[in-house]
């Protein structure tokens, strides 16, 4: 592997790690709310967060441009205040990966939290424990396996993110070319031997993560 391949691998791991951290925090909070609370529009919220799972990545990317582009809803005030835009930076790749990986975490963690025996939760309340203590000491430990499976799946999905990243972060060699983007560029320019190596490395990494997710996923069902 040459230096640009190493860069892509490192960038992919960096982007996926940052996105997974955000996915873990935000996904767990949303999953907890969806699993434990009844409120109006609950399924609409679930649908909104799940959309990136079924939309073409280019459409998700398009929405992200509308939000974070220089003229975007959030992008414009940031650009006007600082002269900086997230577009075409590695942080843009993090946003794209975060948005597409989030539904995997929400779906998996919600199912795991919903499968915790309600009587155990009620028992903790009747023993005098607050909702927060009950969540930390009872619900999350019992949903742990599903949460781990969701996190690992999200990491694998974030590593593989391509379409939305291309739209928001572009494919700038040495800056935003994560592994999937680098493979696309190598294939486009006919550099097959380099592409082979990256494809093989990527397959091994993703396979390993999927294997781990499966192990925890299976245990989570019990």
């Amino acid at each position: 592997m040459d230096s640009s391949a190493w860069f892509s691998l490192r960038l992919s791991l960096q982007v996926a790690s940052a996105a997974t951290l955000l996915v873990f925090v935000a996904g767990l909070a949303v999953a907890y709310l969806l699993a434990m609370k009844d409120f109006r529009g609950k399924e609409a919220v679930d649908m909104l967060f799940t959309l990136p799972l079924v939309l073409p990545p280019t459409v998700t990317g398009y929405y992200l441009i509308l939000l974070f582009g220089r003229n975007g809803l959030f992008g414009r005030p940031v650009f006007e205040a600082t002269g900086w835009s997230v577009m075409f930076t590695w942080q843009a790749a993090v946003i794209a990966s975060f948005v597409v990986a989030l539904p995997l975490m929400i779906k998996t963690a919600r199912a795991a939290i919903e499968s915790v025996d309600r009587n155990l939760i009620v028992a903790a309340y009747t023993l005098g424990h607050s909702r927060f203590t009950t969540a930390v000491k009872v619900i999350l430990p019992l949903a742990k396996k599903g949460i781990i499976a969701g996190t690992v799946l999200s990491f694998a999905r974030a590593m593989g993110e391509f379409g939305a990243t291309l739209m928001l972060a572009g494919n700038i060699p040495g800056r935003t070319d994560t592994m999937p983007l680098a493979i696309y560029a190598l294939a486009g320019s006919g550099e097959w031997s380099s592409a082979h190596i990256l494809v093989a490395v990527f397959t091994v990494i993703s396979g390993a993560f999927l294997y781990i997710a499966n192990i925890y996923g299976k245990k989570a069902v019990i």
């Binding site: 009587n119 155990l120 309340y125 009747t126 005098g128 424990h129 019992l142």
Partner: protein, 247 residues
């Protein structure tokens, strides 16, 4: 201390409308499954909301509708042992018991939990998980955990239904002792007349969401008010008479 319950709730196909009062005694809610006994417990514990009524414990209002008082389960100072025990499967015996002692400092909590372990013959099992101990032992852990909170009343939902006869008798004795020791209202659900006669100071007979008779086991067995009560008590009356002694 007195637990006073007067509540009503209308659900599709079922209406609960009951009133009863239990002092420092062991009372049994008796009746067929589906009569509303467990639902009453859930409402006393604050995990289900009645449509209207009043629940007080030790002169403190836990629930009152229409006035709007509805204390959370955390604020009700009750010990509630669930039918399925609801032991935390990821915690050891010791951790389960300790988890009942909310709000106390760790040292105090540890000391109290160790005392309950000894009191309930659980020594040596502290580090086992609930799945690694017997039904009777699980039962004792659940009771110990409920007592860690120093409850002002104890609710036991069919606590002995899954136990073999000798273990059941031992547990009944233990509950009776605990009631005497703590001198608090203890209410136990059962549909076993034999059990009710064996331990109850008072029996409250439920049928289809209503209380159809309340009194001592002897009164209920010997002078059933209604045909429904008679039907409920008739099939085990022989055994019950043995426990109650001659008239």
């Amino acid at each position: 201390m007195t637990l006073q319950v007067s509540i009503a709730k209308v659900l599709p196909g079922f209406t609960l409308d009951v009133s009863w009062e239990v002092g420092n005694e062991l009372a049994v809610l008796f009746g067929f499954s589906g009569a509303g006994k467990s639902m009453t417990f859930r409402m006393i514990a604050g995990v289900m909301v009645p449509d209207r009524g009043l629940i007080t414990l030790d002169n403190r209002v836990l629930f009152e509708q229409p006035s709007g008082t509805d204390l959370s389960p955390q604020e009700r100072s009750l010990g509630y042992v669930f039918q399925d025990l609801a032991l935390f499967p990821h915690m050891t015996v010791m951790e389960n018991i300790r988890f009942g002692g909310h709000g106390k400092n760790r040292k105090l909590r540890d000391g109290e939990a160790r005392m309950l372990v000894r009191r309930f013959h659980l020594s040596g099992l502290e580090d086992r998980f609930p799945s690694q101990i017997s039904g009777g032992q699980q039962q004792r852990v659940a009771l110990a955990r409920a007592l860690m909170r120093h409850p002002k009343a104890l609710l036991l939902d069919e606590p002995f239904s899954a136990l073999d006869a000798p273990v059941r008798a031992e547990m009944q004795q233990l509950v009776k002792e605990v009631q005497k020791e703590l001198s608090i209202p203890v209410v136990l659900i059962t549909h076993d007349l034999n059990e009710a006669c064996g331990i109850a100071d008072r029996m409250i007979v439920y049928s289809s969401g209503r209380v159809i008779q309340a009194g001592t086991p002897a009164e209920i067995v010997r002078h059933p008010f209604a045909a429904e009560v008679e039907q409920l008590v008739s099939y085990r009356i022989g055994l019950c008479e043995q426990k109650l002694g001659p008239c």
